[in-house]
Each structure stands twice: as C-alpha cells, then as structure tokens.
Amino acid sequence: MKKIIVTVTMIVFGLSLFAEIDFNGFVRNYTGILLNDNHDYSILQNTFDLNISQNSGKIAFKANPYLNQYSDDDLTLGLREAYMDMYFEKMDLRIGKQQIIWGKADGVFITDIISPKDMSEFLLPDFSEIRLGITSLKADYYLGDNTFEFVWVPNFTPTIMPDENSIWRPKMSFPVNPNWDFSKKDVEKNLENSEVFAKFSAMSSAIDFEFMGAYMWDDDPAMDIKPTIDPTTHQISSLIVTPQHHRLSVTGGSFSTTVGDFVIRGEGAYYFGKYFSTDNLTVNDGLLEKDYLHYLLGIDTSLWDIKLSSQFVQQAILNYDDSIKNDEFDNTVTFLASKTFLRETLRTELFAYIGLNDEDALIRPKVIYDFSDGFDIIFGVNIFTGNKGKFGQYDNNDMIFSKIKYSF
C-alpha cells in the first residue's frame, strides 16, 4: 500500500511540475459514537481526498483519488473518479470512471440510477461518497438549452453492501438459516452485458425537465431461493439463497419549476418488470416479476429566512400479489429545514426521512460552523425511530457524530 501511495504522490508531484494543474480537495476527521450503553464508535475515519484537474479549452481531465484511514489503522486507497473530457462545438465526450447524476430529487434515487451506491454506512455519508464512479462513456449533444445525453457503461457495478458484521447490514429474515450460493452474484463482463442510458433535458424560464430511458442491470440482487422440504414434517428443512442480478428496462422523467415563492419538483421512473421477494418460497424460487413505479413530488420555499423543503415519495408495485414481501404502496416523506446565522458562518439543519408504512424515521439534526474559510466543524445526531422498516431496522444505531473538514 505504502508503495502505491508513494508512486501516486510522485506522479502527482511530477505532473504539477510540467503543467498548470488544479489541485483541490479536503482532509477530514469523521468520528461517530453510538448512543448505546457502551458508547461504541460507529466510525473513526480520517480522509484525504484530492481532486486533480486540468482544462485546456478543448480537452480536460480529472482524477479524484482518496485515502481513508480507520481506527484499526486500515488504509484504503480509492479512485472516486478518473476521466477525460473532449469538448466539441456542440458536443462533449467524457470517458473514464465518473459519477453520473440525473434527476431533481434530493436524497432519493429515482431516475438517478446510473451510478451505483456504496451502502457501507447506509445513507449517512455525503452523497458524493455514496455514489460510486463507474467506467463509462458519456456523450452530450447540445442544441441551445436542450441536451441529449447518452451513456454507455461497459461493465456492470452492483451496490456495495455493508460487511456481514456491520451494524448497517440490512436485516433479512428466512424461515431457517440459509446456505448462500454466490456463484451467480457477478454479471459476466462482456459487451452483451453492458448498460445503456439516454436522456433528453431542457432548461427554460418556465420549466426544466428531463426524459430518460435505461436498459440496465438491477444494482440490488434478487434473492433466488431453493428450499428443501422435509418429507415427514412437510416443513422447510434447508434453504439455498442465490443472489442474482436481473436486467431492467426503465423509463422516466423529472421536472422543476417556480410558482411564486415555491419551487415545485417531480420525478418518476417506471420499471418494465422488477423482481420482488415473496413469502411463498416454494413457487418461482421465492420471486415474482412485477412492473414497478417509483415517483416523487417535492416543494422548496423559504419562510422567515428558513429554507424549507419537503418531498413525498411513493414506490408502487403494479398488479400486486399478496405474497410479495414489500408493501404494494410504500410511502416516504422527506423534510429539510435550514437556517444560517453570523453572516452564513453558522448553519443549522434538520433533515428527516419519515417512513409512513412502518412509522419509522431517520432524523438528522446538525450544526455546521465555518471556523475559517474552508474549515468546517460539523456536529450532528442520527436518530432512528421505529422498530422495522428501512430506518426502524437501525433503531439501535442512534449516534452522535462530528466531522472536522479542511478544504483546500
């Protein structure tokens, strides 16, 4: 590892001698303490994140290596992005590892389905760190304020799930302890298995909108289940669970417009078939394929200098079957309020996801103090309420955290 770091440092230093290269990034300490009896550390992390870029008018590049060092002295070196740009009169090409973000939703992934997610610490990290860069070719063609975008992803990258022993590992329930078969967890790397995405977007005084389509892989695997039935008891005696990714065809769009003091946003995606787990393990390997709709309506405004934003999100399974584990309609509300003080050097913020089906929530109040230009001190709390559902399952993971960040 040390050798790699020294090599990278030498390359960066060497490059900086030869050309006008822009360096910026941050150094950050992130400490999280669980609010349990032992006050365990949920995270102790030091990060060095570097953005190296150059723009020479017709061409540009960016590389974003990062180093994370954890309490156990584990050091991980990663490359969030590394891409090159080619600028033509009406077209841009971006080639390499890149994060691609679509849609108008905040904190919710609806048409924003190109970059997979790193869920190692659930939805708690900054979104720039949750989204994974993927090797892809992105082409944008511009016509006035309209953009046609095409993305080709040669290799499929799945969601990164938390380790088996992680407190963020989602709870999965099976009637008996399963045997896992990971033989199908990877999607073979070949041209046929690549993903394609296309989008048309427009920006105008009246409205901004996007239409998109995708032929992709589901970032989250479906759990194919093969049970063995005990002939004497007629009960399930063992299970083989095989995680497997399936193809998805998705279409959708989003909009954003201003009405008086309000910004109204909407986003929706329609899935032509997506696999859902069922309680009936003896039929169809415990899976059913159904059309699926995921959409959101949001509103942003400002009241007494407090910025307010709220979103209603619904996930609907069409032609529903009662054996499906997920609810037919899953409703979530998000809420954000923030206010700045002391000439914008102090900001208080409250963000919450509220699950209406399971009456659970993730509530995230935080205070951000800009100690000096580019030096932020953040204190916050993550409170999980409820005892089941997306957020309630982490009820024991309430935590306080601090982030001290120096940007350069």
Binding site: N24, F26, N55, Y87, D92, Q99, I100, I101, K104, D126, F127, S128, D140, Y142, G144, D145, T147, S201, M203, S205, D208, S256, T257, T258, G260, D261, F262, V263, D300, T301, S302, D305, T340, R343, E344, T345, S372, D373, G374, D376, K405, S407, F408
Partner: protein, 257 residues
C-alpha cells in the same frame, strides 16, 4: 412679417420650456437604470467581508454578463473559498416588470443543477452585506422617488434622491441615493430599516469609463448597526467581447471555468 417673427419667438420659447423640463426623482433614477451599459461584460469579483474585529474573509468569483434584449443573463463561477470552488450560479433577469428572475445553482459535490426561487432577494449574498437585490437592478417603478436636494459630494454635483418602496413589506423602508449629474452614477446610497433607522451605507470608491461605459469598479457596503463591512472589487473587466450565448447554459455551469 411682425406676425411671423412673433410666431417664431413663441415657438422658440415653447421649445426652451421643453428643454428645461424640470427633472424629477423618477427621471434621475430612470437615468441611472438606463445608463448605457455594455452588451456583455466579463470580470473578476473580489468580495472581502470584514467583521467588527477587523477579521477578513475573501470570496473570489468570475462572472460573465450578457444583455439579450428582453433578458439579461449572468453566470458566476466561485473560485474561493475552497469549499465552494467550482460552484456556479446563473441568473436570467427580465425587462418585464412582473416577471421574476430565474435562478439556478450548480453544486459540484452533488453534481446537480438546482433551480432556486428568486424570491429571497432580501437574503445576503455569500454572507456579505449585499443582498441579492442590492446587487441587481431594482426597477425604478418599484419605488416612489423624490429629489431632496442638490449638493456637492466628493467634488461631484449630485442629486440627492429619496426612494420609498411601493411595497410596504420590502426590506428597506427607504433609500437615499447621491446621483452624479450627467454621469448618472449612484455615488453613495443609504439604506434604512423597517423602523426608519439607518442600516447600511454604500460608498462607491472607484468608477471608471471603459470604452463608452461608466462602470463601478470598487464599492464598500457598511452595516452601521452591526458594524461590519463588505468591499466589492471588480478586476480585469472586459466589455463588448461578444461572449457567445452558449456561455449561459447548463453545459457551462457544469463545466466550470
């Protein structure tokens, strides 16, 4: 013949009355608003925020402005401080009195352009003493204007204009502006709060004729109630360089400088 001479004299007298039409407060402010401005402009904006202890924070922005006739478009790229590096902001401002500005912000960490409501014109820009409205062109018809007096200020002959907003809920109860005669530049402006007390004073430190346009290059806003100050300096100004209209698009907001 006598009749003709009399008629000509009458006509000349009438014309001279038109020429000496009494200038009003509204006319002075309209002259400031309509002062000849470049078709497009590029410059670096350096804002220094000084608190009551004299500590300074500096914000650097590169900005491009272009007049498209019925709409003026502006795009700003934030250079420093480091945590806002590569953030960009775009504003489309319309001639129509009843049409609000359209505004978007690009946040590089989120890699996303967000449409924002332009209604919060009373918000302070990047923690400075300038509100968004102080930085924009407030339309003359939004206030009732009155000439208080004429006086010499910094060796310039000025009209002193009191402007009272028609909207009673506006953040200022009134403003008083010292406008240089013939150049139509506001040299000083006082802003009064809702209670009628002096809140802020804007002083123009440097203005210059670039090509045929009078441009303000250095100004200072002092909040007298909180005793903090913001200086705003415009450097490397270029005018009428035919900035392409494609500069004011989503593409450029994302690409940055």
């Amino acid at each position: 013949m006598k009749k003709s001479i009399f008629m000509i004299m009458m006509a000349i007298f009438a014309l001279s009355l038109v020429g000496q039409e009494k200038i009003t407060g509204l006319k002075v402010i309209q002259n400031v608003y309509n002062r000849k401005s470049p078709k497009d402009q590029t410059g670096e904006l350096i804002m220094t925020l000084i608190n009551k202890r004299g500590e300074e924070r500096v914000r650097k922005i590169k900005q491009f402005t272009k007049d498209f006739g019925k709409v003026e478009k502006k795009i700003m790229f934030f250079i420093s401080p480091a945590d806002v590096h590569n953030t960009s902001f775009m504003n489309w401002s319309y001639d129509k009195d009843d049409k609000d500005d359209d505004q978007w912000i690009y946040l590089p960490a989120l890699k996303k352009i967000k449409r924002i409501s332009s209604d919060s014109k009373s918000d302070y820009f990047m923690g400075s003493d300038f509100t968004y409205d102080d930085l924009g062109d407030r339309k003359p018809k939004q206030d009732n204007h009155k000439i208080l007096r004429e006086e010499k200020f910094h060796n310039e002959n000025c009209y002193v204009i009191e402007s009272i907003p028609k909207d009673e809920d506006y953040m200022y109860s009134k403003t008083i502006t010292w406008v240089i005669k013939n150049k139509w530049i506001g040299l000083k402006k006082e802003f009064y709060d809702e209670d009628g007390d002096l809140l802020k004073t804007l002083n123009i430190k440097k203005y210059q004729k670039i090509k045929e346009y009078w441009l303000i290059l250095n100004s200072e806003m002092h909040n007298v109630q909180k005793n903090h100050t913001t200086t705003m300096e415009l450097k490397n100004v270029k005018v009428d360089t035919s900035i392409p209209s494609s500069k004011f698009t989503e593409r450029m907001m994302k690409r940055g400088l």
